[in-house]
């Protein structure tokens, strides 16, 4: 089956590993900084991005032969914007608390460079099945990084790990009161955006170290 040959595997695994949209291409940083205060936000956000990326890639790839080159950006934007509106409405209907926490950042998926970038660079040049895999792969690559960042930010910044549920989130783990009594303190800096920058920088550092990529000076 075409879906599972080695080329397809590479399309999925590359963006997670050696061509990660956040840590290697450094795209989509703004939402990665904004929604990583809590793990549950990051999980829902990455699910939303995976959905939008995969569907926009498939739709645009299917109509790629009918799009006039000069208006392709407008068409891409309208497809992505409609998909984002669907996600936004779904969140408001079924996960109202989460939708309020994520606030504008769901809507801002439209402007996420990863979505536009993959549509432009991949979907308009490949068939729907490959475009689908590329969307899933890039979404997973994005999700992996923001969940890692949010894990450290929430654990050390707020002292909890929250998983998503229908309401305000299910607290999986929280640092025991006795620790606080013994003098432990949450690192307030990590709740602020500079803290996200620092954690993201460290994640990028470690991932590049693992892969062995060095940027040319």
């Amino acid at each position: 089956m075409e879906l599972f040959n080695s080329e397809s595997k590479k399309i999925i695994s590359d963006p997670i590993n050696v061509n990660n949209p956040i840590s290697l291409q450094v795209l989509g940083i703004c939402s990665a900084l904004a929604v990583t205060i809590r793990v549950d936000q990051a999980i829902i956000m990455s699910l939303a991005v995976i959905f939008v990326l995969a569907s926009s890639n498939v739709i645009l790839s299917m109509i790629r032969n009918f799009i006039p080159n000069r208006v392709r950006i407008v068409i891409m934007l309208s497809v992505i914007a409609s998909l984002v509106s669907v996600v936004d409405q779904l969140l408001q209907a079924y996960m109202y608390d989460m939708s309020k926490q994520l606030s504008v950042f769901v809507g801002l998926i439209i402007t996420n460079c990863i979505v536009m970038g993959r549509a432009e660079a991949f979907a308009l040049k490949h068939g729907p099945s490959k475009a689908f895999l590329d969307g899933i792969g890039n979404g997973l690559g994005y999700g992996m990084i923001i969940i890692i960042v949010s894990f450290f930010r929430e654990l050390f910044g707020s002292g909890t790990i929250t998983l998503p549920d229908g309401g305000a989130g299910y607290v999986l783990f929280s640092i025991p009161e006795s620790w606080y009594a013994a003098g432990y303190e949450n690192i307030g800096l990590l709740v602020l955006s500079p803290g996200a920058f620092i954690i993201l920088g460290l994640v990028i550092w470690f991932q590049r170290e693992l892969i062995g990529i060095e940027e040319e000076a």
Partner: protein, 391 residues
């Protein structure tokens, strides 16, 4: 010395390339160069023959800091005995303060050494003594009550994020000691600001620093009047100078800082241009704000230039932090600009933003960021001038 030389020669063979202990070479090299000058020779130019290598330079800075440590420890004990109305003579006060200063100092050195050594071993560069100065500076910028584990994390952050990720000593953008302090300030605000942390007394003892008095006044008044209303501490200019007031460990006594600064200038380590121009910048800005004070209800605007000089860590910052050779400007004209803006920003942050009563730390970090840009334009304008002359 013969005995030491033998030890180093013998152990040196153990850490040569190819031996199982070769990973420990940076540690051996660091210990060796503390006692003996290096026997490696420069193969290409420029050939400068001078005993003042990085190690000696850093060592002089540490010497200049020692008086601040001694006074800092004494001041902790003095304020404590004042709060409890007990004997405040030098030796018992000093020993009392030492109980607080020494653990902080040891923690910073342990954290700094762990970070520096692990980077030296992984990246295979020599241990650079820059971390000794950073680690010697960090405790002086902290309040005496700071928890040690926070000191550890802050120091590690300063050494790794402030220095090592840029490539180690000589290539860093920000002053590592100030990076550590800024991290701790924003990460643990309750232990780094407020009026409960600057002096040790009985539980819940509160001691406001001089800067926080006009920053949170009960009624609007000029800063001098607000100071004279405080009976707990003597905030007269004279006592601000002598430093028997609450504050970070090393910054209260201005005389010792000035002496340290003169010592560094005499040794040719610190740039007098930076110190002088920051003082000029501070005085000018404070004078302008004084003129504007009648139009505002912000008591910080009424602080006179002299008080601005004596309050807080301004002198400590410009003598020991702003003049750091790596992160400051490298051109002489650039140093004037760099220093001037440190003075300017310090007063602006102190006076205009009530959230940060002290602005030296942020002012120096901001100007660290701009120092390469200043240098670039100074050099470009010099090139242009000389081109024009020969055209």
């Amino acid at each position: 010395m013969k005995f030491l030389k033998n030890i180093f020669e013998k152990t040196g063979k153990l850490v040569e390339k190819g031996k199982p202990l070769s990973w420990a070479y940076p540690i051996w090299e660091a210990a060796d160069t503390i006692f003996f000058s290096t026997d490696s020779q420069t193969k290409s130019g420029p050939h400068i023959r001078d005993n003042m290598d990085i190690k000696r330079t850093m060592f002089f800075v540490v010497i200049a800091l020692i008086p601040c440590y001694i006074f800092g420890a004494y001041n902790i004990g003095y304020l404590y005995s004042n709060a409890l109305n007990i004997d405040s003579s030098f030796i018992p006060s000093f020993l009392f303060g030492l109980k607080y200063v020494l653990p902080i100092l040891i923690t910073t050195f342990v954290a700094g050494a762990i970070c520096e050594l692990s980077f030296a071993i992984i990246r295979k560069h020599e241990v650079n003594e820059g971390f000794l100065v950073s680690c010697a500076l960090i405790p002086l910028t902290l309040p005496p009550t700071v928890p040690l584990w926070q000191v550890f994390i802050g120091t590690a952050f300063g050494i790794i994020i402030g220095k090592e990720i840029f490539g180690g000593v000589g290539t860093n953008i920000f002053n590592p000691a100030l990076t550590a302090r800024a991290f701790m300030y924003f990460a643990f605000p309750t232990k780094m600001s407020g009026d409960k942390i600057w002096a040790i007394g009985v539980d819940g003892y509160s001691a406001a620093t001089a800067l926080s008095v006009p920053a949170n006044p009960k009624n609007y008044d000029t800063a001098s009047n607000l100071f004279s209303n405080i009976t707990q501490f003597d905030f007269s200019n004279m006592n601000l100078f002598w430093g028997l007031i609450p504050g970070s460990i090393g910054e209260t006594n201005k005389l010792l800082i000035i002496l340290g600064g003169l010592f560094l200038i005499y040794c040719g380590i610190a740039s007098w241009r930076i110190m002088l121009s920051s003082i000029v910048g501070l005085i000018l800005t404070a004078t302008i704000l004084n003129l504007l004070a009648p139009f505002s209800t912000n008591a910080m605007l009424t602080i006179t230039p002299l008080q601005h000089l004596l309050i807080g860590s301004f002198l400590f910052g410009i003598v020991f932090m702003a003049t750091e050779p790596v992160t400051s400007s490298h051109t002489n004209r650039g140093r004037w600009i760099y220093g001037f803006f440190i003075g300017f920003l310090t007063v602006i942050i102190r006076s205009i933003n009530p959230a940060y009563p002290e602005g030296v730390m942020l002012a120096i970090l901001i100007m660290n960021m701009f120092a390469p840009l200043i240098d670039y334009y100074i050099i470009q304008s010099n090139i242009k001038m000389r081109l024009g002359r020969n055209a």
